[in-house]
Amino acid sequence: MNPVTDERIVPVTMPKWGLSMRLGKITAWIVAEGDEVKAGDDLADIETDKITGTLEAATPGTVRRIVARVGEDVPVSGTIALIAPVGVSDADLDAAVADARAVIDAGVPEDADGAGAPVVQTADVRGRKVSFAGAGAGGDVVLLIHGFGGDRDSWLFLQEPLAARHQVYALDLPGHGTSSKNLVAGAGPETPAGAGPDAPAGAGPDAPPGPDAPPGPGDPAGLLADAVVGVLDAIPASRAHLVGHSMGGAVALAVAARDPRRIASLTLIAPSGFGRQINAGYLRGFADAQTRRELKPLVGQLFADDKLVTRQVVDDLLAYKRLDGVEAALHALVLMLLGGDEQRGDSAAVLAALGDAMPVTVVWGRQDQIIPAEQAQAVAGAVRYVIEGAGHMPHMERPVEVQTAIEDTIARAG
Amino acid sequence: MGDAVVGVVANPLSGRDIRRLVTQASVFPTAEKANMIQRMLTAFGAVGVHRVLLSTDLGGISAAVFRAIGRRRGADPRWPEVEFLDGQPIRQTAQDTLDAVRRMVTAGARVIVCLGGDGTARVAASAAGDVPLLALSTGTNNVFPAVREATVAGLAAGLIATGAVPADGVTDRAKLLEVRVGGRVETALVDVATSTERHVGARAVWDPATVTELFCAFAEPDAIGLSAIAGQVRPVARHDPHGVILRLAPDAARQVLAPIAPGLVVPVGVRSIERLEAGPVYHVDARAGVIAVDGERELAFGPGERPAVRLRADGPRCVDVAAVLAASARLGLLERVRH
């Protein structure tokens, strides 16, 4: 970088959304040169091979230069705009623009995701493989726990920014991502029941494999908590801040209840178990959906603005749902989460039992169509954030505000 | 002197019975039998045979020879005229061989060559009467027919047919075993056995435990088949006037290892050994079972039907190929003067 550049110039960089992202493309600029922005204001719509999303301003100031053109491929962390106070000279800005242009025009160097890129590791938790990925050095350990049907990529807008000051890990819960899918009886190898008929006469059930019979005994909630503890042991982390979304919130609470001293703070995002009401249709629909046509409208319900629901997002979810064992796992979780059409768990009681062992924060999207935001009231003793314009996925819809909530919670833990 | 006529009968079904399954007996290909006949035709032509009577079959032997004659045209030495015995329905059973040999005898054949195994030789012999018989073996699982190169056998048969070598000095009368069951009569050239099997079925006998009595016209120590049992304990030569009777029992004290079929060398219990005189009738002890002639089950018999066996000296007049060719050498019959 050019030492001459004025420190007051703040580069707006192409964010890294997801492990495999190497470049992004601006599909539309929302601001223009000269606009004033506050932290959290929308700057530009960005599209990657995995996802499209809106980049928000991290710091207040004036947009003095737009560097990247619409439709141009920009490498991750390449500068796409410059925010600077009115006092900074045009000459300094133009110099910074030239540097930024050089990076964009050079295209993506081979090892663009070299240093600091999160490395995928696996922990063996009583015979089950649990995948997790960490980023960032120093600071406290933060473990991000996704919800029903999600995976560690759902934290792609948060993990990188949080990693600036903390060691941030995200895991795939059993039955999700690349972790073992076998949630049902015992920790066995990954062989779902073959569908092959043995005698010519008896035609076994046609593919997909795995009988439709309800899963056997075994306690999925326990298995999920074991996985989180397993990852903490594998890092290793004697003390960690937990961030749990939806079902992941209940799992975070369960882990905290097991070993309160080990959990420094809890940030619960639209956590399950704090009320009876839930969009049971979404849960069952997601577990049962077989085709893109059935899945697309369901995924739309997760977001306040379903612009985020691109074909690629639906295809990725469909690809996940077709992995062997996933259908059985999801049905087991639906049985765990629902009693009839209502929520089964009682997170409030778990939280109460924790007393004030650690600072607790709850974050909810005002427009959450899965678990109503009113249930935030039931999270006793927690600092509450209700975010406008966010549905059930505030950590993807409003990442900057969720990041703020997490940072505050970590600070309160001291 | 009349025409020098040779009869040739070939059995397309020989070498294909169940012994291919229960032992390692080989399958003697039809094409090879056809080749043997063609080699003989060349030999016959060389020594001046006028006519050959050839049996017809549905197995492809006569067809192959028929096509070969078509291709032969003027090749040297010229083949004699070949007449295919036609006009009778082919039943693909032993009856075909009997019918062919009888027609050859009535047509004045001076010598009859039969290609096959013991079974074919046995049937041909029963119809050949006094006409000299040259039994050529197709395959190695045989006792009676000679294992001989067809061309040389052809020369021998041809020399007899043309009268160049008088038959008397070069043929030997073989012994014959006659077995009667009620009104039915069968003859055997090598042996007659009583089997405890209840049905003729697949004919062959390969389990010695089922054989209780064995009558042998002759028994050579280097034979294959049931007579090999006697061949190891009481050998009898082809020219000996008598034969031998063995009574067998699996649990008999005296056990002898015998090659009773290709790849089948098994211990056989011998209870008693008795000389078989030519002429007198011997009755079989067994009350029921099947009589096997030359190792093939043929006559089933029940209680009250006591099969009778008799050794006779008036079997077929077998051509001694070596003797014929030795005579030809003495008489220079195959020598020619180049002009």
Binding site: D151, D153, G177, T178, K181, E190, T191, P192, G194, A195, G196, P197, D198, A199, P200, A201, A203, G204, D206, A207, P208, P209, Q290, T291, R292, R311, D316, A319, Y320, R322, L323, D324 | -
Partner: protein, 338 residues
């Protein structure tokens, strides 16, 4: 979540994982292991293009080399399928169907119906197809329309490594006879493929590119040719093409095709097979019959010509439908006025 592997590796992985999961799965074909009986290394070839490499040692007794007797071993695979095995037989080139087609269309395809629903014949026949490798007329044909015509057979044509693994896994688990077409030119193409097993349902087309102006229905290798045509058209003329990869011609996902044509009103069908009685004519008839009202221009078909596949590079390159011909067809339907 998924690493990049090639189309060939994806197929090998599907075979390996299914053989690990179900010991009734067996693999047979000419040189599937390779070198049987010959003194050299046993797993010499692992299939003529290495697709079955490594299976021989991993699954002793379940990877069978065969003499060159397609009727016998394809028929044997069909017979074994009725007796509790799940054979994956390889007909090296689909061009060889002539020497074993009776065992496929008269035996395997008809058993269930002919025997009143009593037979189950879970056999998979993998085969290579497609031009472009200068293999000339008897090693470059498509021929999938012939199999598509036969009731009782399912016909599958993966275009990407991800689809190849998922569709082959489904084919092996499927309880009906499946003919699995692998394009020779795609073996070395790589793409993201999850490590874990997964099965893709038959009869679900894949919209590989969204677009509002023209619907391009295609399959197999032509999916990639159509995508490059669509990219050119978007950049040059701003025409947005929706590219639909059929993935299976039997069963056929008619709804996705009809839905798209009802939206765009314009259809181009791209099919590497010959023009007569092909998938192109089949889709055109379907749309003409069930979405005629939506059509704003006659249907365009881009296919190989009605000739055997030529050998010389100059001819084979113009034999195979290319992006330019597809773009021309798109321009024809967009520029058409009654």
């Amino acid at each position: 979540m998924a690493r990049n592997i090639t189309y060939r590796e994806a197929i090998n992985e599907a075979l390996t994982q299914e053989m690990e999961r179900d010991d009734t799965v067996i693999v047979m074909g000419e040189d599937n292991a390779g070198g049987a009986g010959a003194p050299g290394e046993d797993d010499a070839w692992g299939g003529v293009l290495g697709v079955t490499k490594g299976l021989y040692h991993k699954f002793p007794g379940r990877v069978l080399d065969t003499p060159i007797s397609e009727s016998a071993f394809i028929g044997a695979a069909v017979g074994a399928a009725t007796a509790g095995l799940r054979p994956v037989a390889e007909l090296m080139f689909v061009d060889f169907m002539g020497v074993c087609f009776d065992q496929i269309y008269n035996q395997a395809a008809k058993f269930r119906y002919m025997f009143g629903g009593k037979a189950v014949t879970p056999v998979v026949i993998r085969t290579m197809y497609g031009a472009g490798l200068r293999a000339a007329a008897q090693h470059s044909q498509c021929l999938y329309p012939l199999f598509t015509h036969i009731p009782g057979l399912k016909v599958v044509l993966p275009a990407t490594p991800y689809d190849a693994k998922g569709l082959l896994t489904q084919a092996i688990r499927d309880n009906d006879p499946v003919i699995f077409f692998e394009h020779k030119a795609l073996y070395d193409m790589s793409g993201p493929v999850p490590e874990e097993s997964y099965a893709l349902p038959f009869g679900e087309a894949n919209v590989v590119r969204e677009g509002a102006d023209v619907t391009i229905v295609t399959l197999g290798r032509m999916v990639h040719t159509s995508l490059s045509a669509a990219a050119e058209l978007a950049a040059s003329d701003g025409v947005q093409c929706e590219v639909i990869d059929l993935r299976t011609t039997s069963p056929l996902d008619a709804d996705t095709v009809l839905e798209s044509v009802e939206a765009t009103g314009r259809l181009v069908v791209v099919d590497e097979a010959h023009p007569r009685c092909s998938i192109a004519t089949d889709i055109s008839a379907l749309v003409a019959q069930r979405a005629f009202g939506a059509l704003r221009a006659p249907i365009e078909m881009v296919t190989a010509p009605h000739t055997p596949v030529p050998f010389s590079t100059a001819l084979e390159d113009i034999f195979i439908p290319d992006a330019q011909r597809i773009a021309n067809a798109v321009k024809t339907v967009t520029g058409w006025n009654p």
